[in-house]
Every structure is written in C-alpha cells, then in structure tokens.
C-alpha cells in the first residue's frame, strides 16, 4: 500500500523543523531522503513511526502496515546478547537458527552470544539492520543505517537489505548519495531550508 504524506509540518519550541512537506511513497519502492542536519529528516521518520504527532498535515496508508526501523542511534539493549536483542522484536516461534542465518548474512554469526555493549559502532548498526529486516516489514524506515561501516561491509549490508526485504517500501535517510544508486532508489527527496 502506498504512503501519502500531505502538508506535514512540525515545530520544536517554536522553531519549525518540517514545513508543509508532501510526498507519495509507492508500495515496494525505495526513496532516499537527503539534506543538511536539522532539516527534519529524522523528524519525518519519527512522524511516520507515530512517535511524534504532526502540528499540521496528514499521513495516510501506514497505519496497518508492519514497520521495521533503524533509528539514528542503535537503540540496542546493551546488557542483552545480540540474539536476545533481535528476538525481542520477533514474533513467537521464530527459531534461533533463523536469527543466526540473518546474522551470518551480515557477518555477525560469531557475535550472536556477545552482549550488544561489547560490539563496535559498525557491528551495532548491522544488528539494528537485522532487527529491522527480520520482522518482515511492509515499510522500512532507515535513518543512516550504514553509518560507521567500511565500503565492503556496507556493500554486504545493502545486498542483505535487497535480498531480504525486496518488497518493502523503503525510506532511507542518508548523507551518501551513492546509497540511492546502490539501493535502486526510485525517488530522491531533498530537504533543505
């Protein structure tokens, strides 16, 4: 189902962050959102996640869809193992082997039983990506998901994303314009002042 955003606006402490933003995200498409810091990219994702309420405008078509998300921060439970962090969001009955296969695909199978706090920044990012993808989302909201990854790891992560979530509607916030090409983005959105 396509997502339609109409005239969306949001302010924090009287300072407008997102102004009259409209867009349509087709079902199964990849859209990349670029723009300098503070122009409302993360705010837009949080509005789509319903973590924030808009000051004005409307969002249609996302309500009943299953969402997978990579946040700007990793948002992992540091004391829990990588496996447990991922299991936390899974439905009942997902076998460990399935989670381990996903971790294998992003090069983290050996780290499955380590606590998340022991991982490097790039590894945590990959765990967050697996967590978003494993729920078989209809919509993937990704905020700088490849931050802290070297070129090879990033290529693996993009390959994993395309392989495991081929039908998801993807909204990707990134600073790297090459990501749009590698993910086959159908739509580029520039948010600026």
């Amino acid at each position: 189902m396509a997502i339609t955003v109409t005239g969306l606006s949001k302010s924090f402490g009287g300072r407008p962050v997102l102004r009259d933003f409209s867009a349509r995200f087709e079902e199964g498409s990849v859209s990349c959102i670029f723009g300098p810091s503070g122009q409302g990219k993360t705010t837009l994702l949080h509005l789509l996640m319903e973590l924030l309420a808009p000051d004005g405008g409307a969002i249609e078509g996302i309500g009943d869809q299953r969402i997978g998300a990579v946040f700007q921060e990793d948002r992992l439970c540091e004391t829990l193992s990588v496996l447990r962090n991922i299991r936390l969001v899974c439905r009942k009955g997902v076998p460990d082997e399935e989670i381990l296969t996903h971790l294998q695909e992003v090069g983290l199978r050996d780290s499955a039983y380590k606590s998340a706090g022991e991982l490097s920044g790039g590894m945590k990012r990959r765990v967050a990506l697996v967590r978003a993808v494993i729920v078989r989302p209809d919509v993937l909201l990704l905020d700088e998901p490849f931050k802290g990854m070297d070129a090879a790891t990033k290529a693996d992560a993009i390959g994993y994303l395309r392989r495991r979530a081929p039908k998801a509607t993807v909204l990707l916030v990134t600073h790297d314009r090459e990501d749009a090409g590698q993910l086959g983005a159908a739509q580029i959105i520039e948010l600026d002042a």
Binding site: L51, E73, R75, S81, R84, L88, V89, R131
Partner: protein, 255 residues
Amino acid sequence: MMRSTTRGKTLLVRAGAVAFWLLLWQLMSMLIGQDILLVSPLRTLAVLGQLAGSGEFWQSVLHSFVKIAFGFLLAIAGGSLFALLSYKNRVVRELLYPLVTVIKATPVASFVILALIWIKSQNLSVFTSFLMAFPIAYTNLLSGLQETDPKLLEMAQVFGVSFGKRLLYIHLPAVSPYFVSACSLSVGLCWKAGIAAEVIGLPARSVGSALYQAKIYLQTGEMFAWTLVIILVSLLFERAVLYVIRLLQNRIERM
C-alpha cells in the same frame, strides 16, 4: 590473579578493623569490670554458646526470621506491584504519594502501638517489617522505572514489543540497580523494626521477647548474645537475598 590478591588484601584489612573493635570492646569491659554494665565479647560468645544449646533459642530465631522475612518479601512484592501501577497510571501515583510519605515519616513505635490494637502480637513483626520495606521498595522501583531509557521504549513501541517483553528486557535492566539497593537498605531496617515490634508486643517464642526478658532480669550477657544473633541473621539474610537477585539477573541476561 591480581584481582584475587586485591580481594585478599581487602578482606585482611576488614578483618583487622573487626579485630580492632573487638579488642577495644574487650579492653573497655575489662576497664569497667562489671558484666552488668558492659559484658566482654568472650563472655558474649560463651552466653551465645549456652543459648544455642536449647531448642527454645532456635524456635525463637526461626519464629522471628519467618515473620520478618515474610514482611520483607511481602513489602518487596507489594512495592514492586504498586511501583508498576504508579508508573503506568498517574492517578495511582498521586494517590500513593501522601500514604508513602506518611509511612516514611511515622515512628516505628507509633505504628507498633497502633497495630497492637488491630492485630495479634504474633503477627506484629510481619506488619512492622512490611511498613519499613514497602516505601523503600516502592520509591526505588518507581525511580528505576522512570529512569528507563525512553529511546528503547520508543523502539519497542515501533516494533510492537509486548508489555511482558518490555518489562523483562527493557525495564528490568534499568530497575535492577534500584531493586538491589532497595533490598539491601530495607533488609536491615526490617530486622531493626521487626525486633523493636517484638520487644513492645512480646509475642511468645521470639527474639524480641527473649531480649526483653534479658533486660528485665538484667542479664546483660544474654542481651548482647541476642543482639549478636540479630546482627548475624540480618546479615546472612541480606547476603542470601542479594545472591538470589544476582542469580536471577544472570539468568535473565543469558535468556
């Protein structure tokens, strides 16, 4: 290796400190020279040995332990439940605020004397230790719940994580240090207040009653021996509680 050496040194220093105070106590009692005023540590141990030979001693210790431990566990369970309800519902939080404040500020003696009108003296120490531990458990756990990382809760909301899983894997790690601190703080208080209640209420076969009897007959040696028992049982109980909590924490982290 280095860690065990440091631990060994710490234990040695602590043992030295204990030995210093025991020696000072022994010297003071020798200086005063009257057992009725200050009995020596050696005499206290001797009296304790005599007391431990009777079945009544163990019955009294068991009675007081069961009642005080029950009051403590009830308070921890009740404090946890109400902290959770207060966290979820502001009305509950505001309703409980004056009650918890009053419980915290009211002297133990007032509660005990009032409680004697309502309940049997046999159960007085359950009630008193409950009242000591409840506000600590409630306040600490509520603080822990409120300190839970809101970003993790947002993540859970987006992924539709169930309340049970949130509680176990997001709230519990945040609450854990507060819970340990609440248990550690309240165990000692429960014993102090529980025994005080027994001294006032005089339930049959209890440590408090024995302490009172010893005071009536000016048996200072027995008073010291019973006090030593209270300290030892309280410390052992605290250690046991903290050990169980650590076991549970490890188990949850490994799940």
